[in-house]
């Protein structure tokens, strides 16, 4: 990607949208109510779709418009709707037993961002180029990964874990839009559809969990040890 030739307005727009997505990931970390978690995820998907469209406009990649539209549709509307339906069917509204306080999780998330920044700096400096937008993309991608893993670790509700997985995927998608917008369309589309299938499978599994184990909280899944 001709990163070197970005004009400043485009660069700051990308920066704003990327950091907005990261901020929404933190909102997810700090929220107790599952619906808030979900809305933040939907907003984050919208921000990433906007970013995709912006890259399509400034980088002259017309196929990315399609990717942006599909992202908006799938990650921004259909996936949250599916998860919302799962939440409706279960009787959980929030995480009742808290493993890690949301504020502590946010502080740990901040440290992850600093770590991701240092790693991205190291990689970008190896290129001997001042690719600040690339550093931003790498930072946001790696920190969303780490935050997603944190969410998977400290949240015990099944829905929260599903959303954590989706945040992981969102992070990769965000990074790939900025770093490698020329990636073949086929791969991006198939990953998108794959995500849909994943969430559908999760829906079925969560229903099974509720029916056969009686709870969707992973704190109660303790039968298999050793």
């Amino acid at each position: 990607m001709p990163i070197q030739h970005l004009d400043p307005l485009a660069s700051s727009l990308f920066g704003l949208l990327a950091i907005l997505s990261l901020l929404l990931a933190f909102v997810m970390l700090g929220s107790r109510w599952l619906k808030n978690y979900l809305y933040a995820f939907a907003a984050e998907s919208w921000a990433i779709a906007l970013l995709s469209a912006a890259i399509a406009y400034y980088g002259h990649y017309p196929e990315l418009y399609l990717v942006a539209a599909l992202t908006l549709l799938f990650r921004g509307l259909i996936l949250p709707y599916l998860v919302w339906r799962i939440i409706q069917r279960l009787d959980v509204a929030r995480e009742v037993r808290i493993i890690l306080q949301p504020s502590s999780a946010m502080v740990i998330g901040a440290f992850f961002v600093m770590f991701a920044l240092s790693v991205s700096y190291r990689i970008a400096s190896d290129f001997h180029l001042e690719l600040t937008i690339a550093v931003l993309a790498l930072t946001v991608m790696l920190s969303m990964k780490l935050i997603g893993f944190l969410m998977l670790a400290v949240r015990h509700e099944a829905i929260s874990q599903v959303l954590g997985l989706l945040v992981l995927e969102n992070g990769i998608f965000l990074g790939s839009q900025i770093l490698v917008p020329g990636m073949p369309l086929l791969i991006e589309l198939v990953v998108l559809f794959d995500l849909l299938i994943v969430v559908a499978c999760f829906g079925v599994l969560v229903r099974y969990l509720q029916a056969h184990v009686g709870t969707t909280s992973s704190l109660d899944l303790k039968r298999l040890t050793g």
Binding site: V119, I172, P184, L209, H212
Partner: protein
């Protein structure tokens, strides 16, 4: 018949069987369809290694590629698929779930399809999607019995493995990014393209991406410390599914690590990629050994043994060179055969005794003389004793490791293999020759469907242990020269 047609039939058979099983509701028909599909796949996979040229061929506009390594892995997979399908006929009838059985066989055929398709995918991104699909399909197979433990196992499986392979996706994207500086912003990310671009790629990016891919696909393989899902998933699923998971799926994921190892070596990172792999392998051996010694569940015992053997395969790839890679590939085949045998035996014993705990299974030899001897032979084999095939492959790997940089790993490996030998066979000694308590008598006899696949697994194992022809040796060693299709 050219390789392309064979591959097409190989993949089409399970696909058709899966669809047909959904449409035809009868369980017997579903069984037969699955069995037929697995037989067809096996017959197509068997000549494939001989038909493929050493540099590999590509089909379908470059989306499907087959070289010697891929053909070998697919052969292992199709053998397990066939054996598991035969076994499943008898086993699943005992479950009493006839109404849902056609779904099982549809999913089973789908599982076979995705596992067989994985190694053929030339595009790295599509390979990732194939692995993801195997996860999705096998989750429902693991959860098939609808018990609370199965649900827990399925949930852990899909969570941990999906999180892990998302790391692998990140690594793939980073590889693409690194390659885009060499090959331009848009290019087809095939193994060969990445391998060709690797020497010019930035070292930091390749290191980071390789580590991510190693951890990501390593989760799928079950290398420690990413193995936490494996004992649960492999122990709670029905026995034929466990055999497929252990024997086929782990190999397919390991194949991805093998390809990325080739790319990392082409990038010229020194000894680092192999060191990482050796470290993971040693850790897996350690974890396997520790948990085998004090194990209480019969199928969890087998699952930890899978972790251990995948650690040995990782060690083989890590040690490198013709010896190491040949040994690792040979180990894949032997492990597939042996682990299927062990899971079939475990499944039989579980059905007969009605329990999964080793402590409640006693007097196997007295109640089941023929099958008991088969299973015992399998146990002796899987701990690496001669005259079976695993002994040969493990010895090859150890010989490959005796270079100064990795000698420590060989000593650790040897020590841990001895520990596993003692621990594993101790459990079997208890099951076979310890005194029976009053209520431990088995209730059911097992059918021929359960016994035949065990014979079919043991015979090649014995043969492979006693006879390793020079052609096979040179075939496997040639893979070490060309780890990526189209790049030699």
């Amino acid at each position: 018949m050219s390789a392309g047609i064979l591959i097409a039939i190989l993949l089409a058979a399970p696909a058709l069987a899966g669809f047909a099983a959904i449409l035809v509701r009868s369980p017997r028909a579903a069984e037969a369809l699955n069995l037929a599909a697995s037989l067809v796949s096996f017959l197509c996979a068997l000549p494939l290694p001989f038909l493929v040229a050493s540099a590999g061929e590509t089909f379908l506009g470059g989306y499907v590629a087959v070289d010697r390594a891929a053909a070998w892995v697919v052969l292992c997979t199709s053998i397990v698929y066939l054996l598991a399908s035969i076994y499943a006929v008898g086993y699943m009838r005992l479950l009493g779930e006839d109404r849902r059985l056609h779904w099982f066989y549809a999913l089973f055929a789908g599982f076979g399809l995705t596992t067989l398709a994985g190694p053929f995918m030339n595009n790295v991104g599509i390979y990732w999607i194939a692995i993801e699909l195997t996860t999705l399909v096998s989750t429902f197979l693991v959860a098939f019995e609808h018990a609370a433990e199965s649900m827990e196992a399925a949930w852990k499986y899909i969570m941990v493995v999906s999180a892990g392979i998302s790391l692998a996706l990140l690594g793939t994207v980073l590889f693409y990014w690194g390659g885009s500086f060499v090959l331009g912003p848009t290019y087809d990310m095939t193994w060969a393209a990445l391998g060709g671009a690797a020497p010019k790629m930035n070292h930091a990016v390749v290191t980071l991406a390789y580590l991510l891919v190693l951890v990501g696909y390593g989760t799928k393989v079950g290398l420690a410390p990413m193995h936490s899902w494996l004992p649960d998933a492999h122990s709670e699923s029905p026995a034929p599914v466990s055999a497929m998971l252990s024997g086929a799926l782990l190999n397919t994921a390991m194949f991805g690590i093998f390809r990325f190892l080739g790319i990392a070596k082409a990038a010229g990172l020194g000894a680092f990629p192999e060191l990482a792999l050796v470290a993971f392998g040693t850790l897996s051996l350690l974890v396997g050994a520790l948990f085998i010694v004090r194990q209480q569940g019969i199928k969890r015992l087998m699952a930890y043994s899978s972790i251990e053997h995948m650690g040995v395969v990782a060690l083989g790839f890590g040690f490198g060179g013709p010896l190491g890679i040949a040994g690792a590939l040979y180990h894949m085949l032997n492990h597939s055969l042996n682990k299927s045998l062990m899971f079939f035996g475990a499944g039989n014993v579980m059905r007969a005794y009605g329990t999964k705990e080793i402590g409640r299974i006693r007097g196997v030899l007295r109640h089941f003389p023929a099958q008991g001897l088969l299973w015992l032979a399998g146990a002796v084999a899987i701990t690496g004793a001669p005259p079976f095939g695993l002994f040969l492959s493990e010895l090859t790997i150890m010989r490959a490791g005796l270079k100064p940089s990795f000698a420590w790993a060989v000593y650790v490996m040897a020590a841990l293999l001895i520990v596993i030998f003692i621990g594993f066979l101790n459990h079997f000694r208890a099951m076979y020759w310890d005194a029976e308590a009053a209520g431990d008598a088995p209730s059911r006899k097992t059918s021929a469907w359960s016994a035949v696949p065990m014979w079919l697994a043991l015979a090649p194992l014995l043969v492979l242990g006693l006879w390793w022809p020079a052609d096979l040796w040179s075939y496997l060693a040639s893979v070490a020269q060309s780890m990526l299709p189209g790049v030699s």
